[in-house]
Symmetry: C2
Subunit: 150 residues, 2 copies
DNA sequence: ATTTGTAATTAGAATAGTTCTAATTCTTAC
DNA sequence: GTAAGAATTAGAACTATTCTAATTACAAAT
C-alpha cells in the first residue's frame, strides 16, 4: 500500500472513532509501518522528529495511544522496560532474541490460535492473546533470505 | 509442602547457584507461595514487612531478582506497569482480567505447548514461552468451586 | 469572513517503578 | 578473633510515562 492510501485508511479509522487525522498522527503511523522493528516511544520520537521538528514526546505518546485505541497498532510489553509498538495486525507471536534484544514477528496459523484459546475454561472470554518466546535465534535462511520453517 | 521443607528446597536451589539462604530471601519466597496472586514488588514488600520490619524495598527487589535467576519464580510483564511475580513453575498461561485487574493462572497441557513451539522456524530456540490472554472472566463454577473447563 | 467551541499539540512538571551507590552488617573460612 | 566476601540497607538517581496548563489548529455556525 502506498503512503497516500495508507493515510486515507488511517483517516477513515480515526474518523470511525470520532477523531481527526493530523500530521502528527500520520507521520507516527508512517514511521511504524516503514520500519517494523517494534520501536519504543523514544525511538518513534527520534524517527518522526526530522519530518516534524516541532513535535513533542508527549504528542508521540498521545498518537501511539490513539493508534492503539483505534486497533491500528499493538502495544507490546515483552519485558520490564519501555513499551514497544507493532503495526502488524495479523495474528502473530513474538520472538524476543535475548542476545540482540530484537523482537521478530512469527506468523501464527489460525488452528494454533484456536488450540491455544481452547485451554481456557468456560466463562473466560479473551479479547486478545499474546504469545511471546524468549531465547536466541540463529535462523538459517533459505534462498529468498527468509527464515525457513522447521 | 510445609514451610520447613520449602525453606530447605530454597536453600538447596540457592546453594546450587553459589548463593546463601537468608531470612529475607526465605520470607520473600514464602509470601509468594502463600498468596499466589502475582503481586508487585511493592505488594511483596508490604507483606514481608510485618515479618521483617527492617527489610528495605531494595532488598525485596534483590531477593525477587535472585529467585527469578534461580528459576524459582517467574517475572511477569502483562502490561505496562510494575512487574509481577509468580511462583508457579508448572507450564501455564495467564489470563488478565481487565475488569478486576487480576491475573489467573491457566493450566497449559503439554501438547498445546508443543503445538505452539512448533510455529517457530528452524533456528529459533526458545528458552521460554509466555502466553497471555486479556479479557474479562465471568467463569461459572462447578460443585467444587473450581472454574469448569469448556 | 469571523466567531466560537472543541480537539489536538506542546513544554515542562510530576509521578511511578526500578536500579544504583556507598556504607554497614552479616557469614564463612581461616 | 580476623579477614574477605556476600548481603542488606537507605536514599539518591534514573527511566519511562502521565499529567497539567497554556497554546494552537480546526470545523461549524453565524
Amino acid at each position: 500500500m502506498d503512503t497516500e492510501s495508507r493515510t486515507e485508511a488511517l483517516a477513515q479509522r480515526l474518523a470511525d472513532s470520532g477523531l481527526r487525522s493530523t500530521p502528527q498522527r500520520e507521520v507516527v503511523y508512517d514511521v511504524l509501518l516503514k520500519k517494523r522493528d517494534h520501536p519504543t516511544a523514544d525511538e518513534v520520537f527520534a524517527r518522526v522528529k526530522p519530518e516534524l521538528p516541532t513535535i513533542s514526546l508527549a504528542t508521540v505518546y498521545n498518537c501511539l495511544e490513539t493508534l492503539v485505541a483505534c486497533d491500528l497498532v499493538r502495544a507490546v510489553n515483552i519485558e520490564r522496560g519501555p513499551t514497544r509498538y507493532c503495526p502488524n495486525l495479523q495474528p502473530h507471536a513474538h520472538f524476543h532474541d535475548v542476545k540482540t534484544g530484537r523482537t521478530h514477528d512469527i506468523d501464527l496459523p489460525p488452528e494454533v490460535l484456536e488450540r491455544v484459546q481452547a485451554v481456557l475454561p468456560a466463562g473466560y472470554t479473551p479479547a486478545s492473546v499474546e504469545i511471546t518466546f524468549r531465547g536466541s535465534a540463529c535462523a538459517p535462511l533459505d534462498a529468498t533470505g527468509q527464515a525457513t520453517k522447521s
